[in-house]
Amino acid sequence: MKFIQNIFDASRPAVTSGKLKPLYPLHNALETMMFVPDHNAKSGAHVRDAIDLKRTMITVIFALIPALIFGIYNSGYQHYKALGLLNNDIGWLQFFTLENFLFGALKIIPMIIVTYIAGLGVEIYFAYRNKHAVNEGFLVSGLLIPMTMPIDMPLWMIAISTIFAVLIGKEVFGGTGMNILNPALTARAFAFFAYPSFMSGDKVWINTTLGPGEALVDGYSGATALGQYATTGSTTFSAWDAFLGIIPGSIGETSTILILLGGIYLIATGIGSWKIMFSSLLGAITISLIFNAVAPSMISPEQQGFLSIPFYFHLVFGSWAFSTVFMATDPVSAAHTERGKWIYGFFIGFLGIMIRVFNPAYPEGMMLAILFMNVMAPLIDHYVVEGNIKRRLKRLKLSVK
């Protein structure tokens, strides 16, 4: 380790003065990533917890990795399945193959790299401009963004969406800790509205390229389960496949079981708010049950079909699980008060499922629901804070009497 430290020590003078000064935040970020600094407590408490923002963020990344690796396999699996190269009799036994992994990895790893370069580039520029250290928040956003994208998303679109998200979603509000919207979802929303043909429909979820320049001509239907529901009122996928994740969808969202695993890890470590996750579950179940009750009175059979599906379908199809565990729990854009988190989470589940069912143009209601609740979170907090203030005033009045 000494020689790594020596490299940092030797290069430090070059970036603390002179032309390379703009690189200091990068140097500092890399150095503190290699070595947790030996800074000592100067004021206040003399002992401190081992946790810091880096550990918090890496914990979220640990929680994301199973779903990511699964997504890599799944993109390969869906690809080869669409091309008809798989033996239909043994189905998912051909899932964890090297070919699937390599196909997915060659697609997805460049997406991750591009996202990190684009996002951290903006972060480092602002760190230099505003003279602060690079915040670690983007470590997670940079992994979340590719995981919410379809497999064939062009890299330059990902880069532009990421830059937009960091600039408009975060830095204009004052940087990490100040943003109102979840940066990863801002990137996805930008991509969704800027490049709709790459982000929605039936064609984008599975790569059907045969070779360079050649695509599968007659349409293999690559619709997601929610897409099918919106058009036909039923799906060809089983809830069990969806729970395992062997269905088309955004890269990271398909495997409910691995997302659940990540969620359990986040709750167990105390990093993710169980209140938000749990109340989002309650919200999703509530609206599903309401839909089940009113389904018979719908006019079209498609709508009747979509409304009458049991609640657990909603939990395993689409991005409810991924959004609830990894997006809704972003502490900066969520409600900040503990009571507020209950309300915030509930409406994310409630509205997310509602949008996905009522508006077939947006089968992914979760994204919009979370962005909407991000905007509403300060209002929720306001009422919780007012409640606290009122209790205090009431006590004062009682004591005056």
Binding site: H46, N135, G177, R395
Partner: protein, 446 residues
């Protein structure tokens, strides 16, 4: 009237070096010092100059805002130095002690009236043992407090337990209680659930409440919040049980004896135990004899909110404990990525949670760098008040006085945020922020 309260939110840090209940007697110490910074709200004005002879109990400093408030000398001797810092700020006043301590006598007349008692406390400097809420600063003798809270417990790491440190001083404690009873109609003593010392034998006509649970169950703010919450415009005085005995002795003998039985803990102590120490004394000999060799931080007070005084420093005039813990020295290669089986964390983000009963030799390391507030809901787990900690801190940050008041800044002092500061992911200096908020408010109100 006696009630039991269980505090659920909080945290006892699993540290090595808990003092055992054995007492080591005092030694003669030749140097003493007064540090004005120890007295919150004091605008110090010197009452002595270098070379002056003083007796124990004689005023060394006045408060410029209220000259009745005096900071007493803990010992008799000669003023040997007056040290100043930047902008001629008074840093410390050093006193070289006589072999035999002479005490100024303040009389032993009994059956005093309220004003006479106040005057005697002010004259002898024992008044500085009382603090007021809000602000946690020196009490103002012109106020009439709605209650006086006596803190008879200690839940800080390595805290001195009054049941042990007041052993043999029970009579003086009762005498002190009698005095305090003259100052307020409501005297509230809070003690630990398992305290069964003789302290309580003569504690008549006062409210006694028992508290249990993890730290901060022993913080006075917690006791106030449960027993008699402080509202805007009200004043409460607070005092430590050990200091009640000092007041008792003042009225018994007419002399101010600032010696206490303090707890000394931490992994830097050879034998963590109790010692007889006088407030303000030089700790040079103490530390060189009683601590291990190595790079340590020497703290007057607790590891949560005490003051680092250095190996040759002086213990605070009001301190009830000292703590000696190692300074952090090395960087930590990839410390944030590795499992961290040996890293203490209140969260379970490091795998040390697999060993819940383990104790740690925590250093003064920050374990990270300061960052913006990101994580929410973290402080609430160790903050047993009906106060929204993040929102209150943000209102302080924004210097929004009205919001600070509304969100309950009157009900807390910096030490109540110590645990939040320990577990803070963003390594924000919370106690400093709270002090700043209270100062802003104090300056606005006075």
């Amino acid at each position: 009237m006696s009630k039991k309260y269980t505090i659920r939110k909080g945290l006892n840090l699993p540290l090595f070096g808990e003092p055992i209940k054995e007492l080591k007697p005092s030694k003669f110490v030749s140097n003493y010092a007064i540090r004005p910074s120890e007295f919150i709200g004091l605008k110090p004005k010197l009452a002595v100059k270098v070379g002056d002879k003083v007796k124990a109990g004689q005023a060394i400093l006045f408060d410029k805002k209220n000259e009745r408030i005096k900071i007493p000398s803990p010992i008799s001797g000669e003023i040997s130095a007056i040290q100043r810092g930047p902008k001629r700020r008074l840093d410390q006043i050093v006193i070289r002690a006589n072999e035999k301590c002479e005490y100024l006598n303040f009389g032993v007349k009994t059956a005093l009236k309220k004003d006479e008692i106040k005057n005697k406390l002010l004259e002898s400097g024992a008044w500085t043992l009382l603090k007021m809420r809000p602000y946690g600063c020196l009490a103002n003798p012109d106020d009439s407090p709605k209650a006086i809270f006596i803190n008879g417990m200690g839940s800080d790491p390595f805290a001195s337990k009054p049941g042990f440190s007041l052993k043999g001083k029970e009579e003086l404690f009762s005498r002190g209680l009698e005095v305090l009873k003259q100052l307020s109609d409501r005297i509230i003593l809070s003690i630990a659930q398992d305290e069964n010392s003789d302290l309580l034998n003569n504690a008549n006509d006062i409210e006694i409440h028992r508290f249990s649970g993890p730290h901060p169950s022993g913080n006075t703010s917690v006791h106030i919040s449960r027993v008699a919450p402080l509202n805007k415009g009200e004043v409460i005085w607070t005092i430590a049980a050990q200091d009640v005995a000092i007041i008792g002795k003042l009225f018994e003998l007419g002399e101010l004896h600032l010696d206490r039985t303090i707890a000394a803990g931490g992994s830097g102590m050879k034998n963590p135990q109790y010692y007889e120490v006088r407030g303000g004394q030089s700790m040079k000999t103490f530390f060189s004899e009683e601590t291990n060799k190595g790079n340590y931080r020497f703290i007057s007070g607790s590891v949560l909110s005490g003051e680092s005084i250095g190996k040759e420093g002086y213990i605070g005039l009001l301190a009830k404990q000292v703590s000696v813990i190692p300074e952090g020295e090395n960087t930590d290669f990839l410390g944030w990525v590795l499992p961290g089986f040996d890293k203490y964390s209140f969260s379970k983000a490091y795998f040390s949670w697999l060993f819940p009963n383990r104790k740690y030799n925590l250093t003064t390391k920050l374990n990270g760098e300061e960052r913006a507030f990101v994580v929410t809901g973290q402080y609430d787990k160790v903050f047993p008040f009906d106060i929204l900690p993040n929102q209150l801190l943000k209102s302080i940050w924004a210097e929004d006085i009205e919001k600070m008041e509304e969100l309950g800044i009157y009900e807390i002092i910096p030490e109540d945020f110590a645990l939040c500061e320990v577990i803070c992911t963003s390594k924000q200096p919370l106690q400093e922020m709270v002090r700043k908020g209270l100062d802003i408010l104090y300056n606005e109100m006075n």
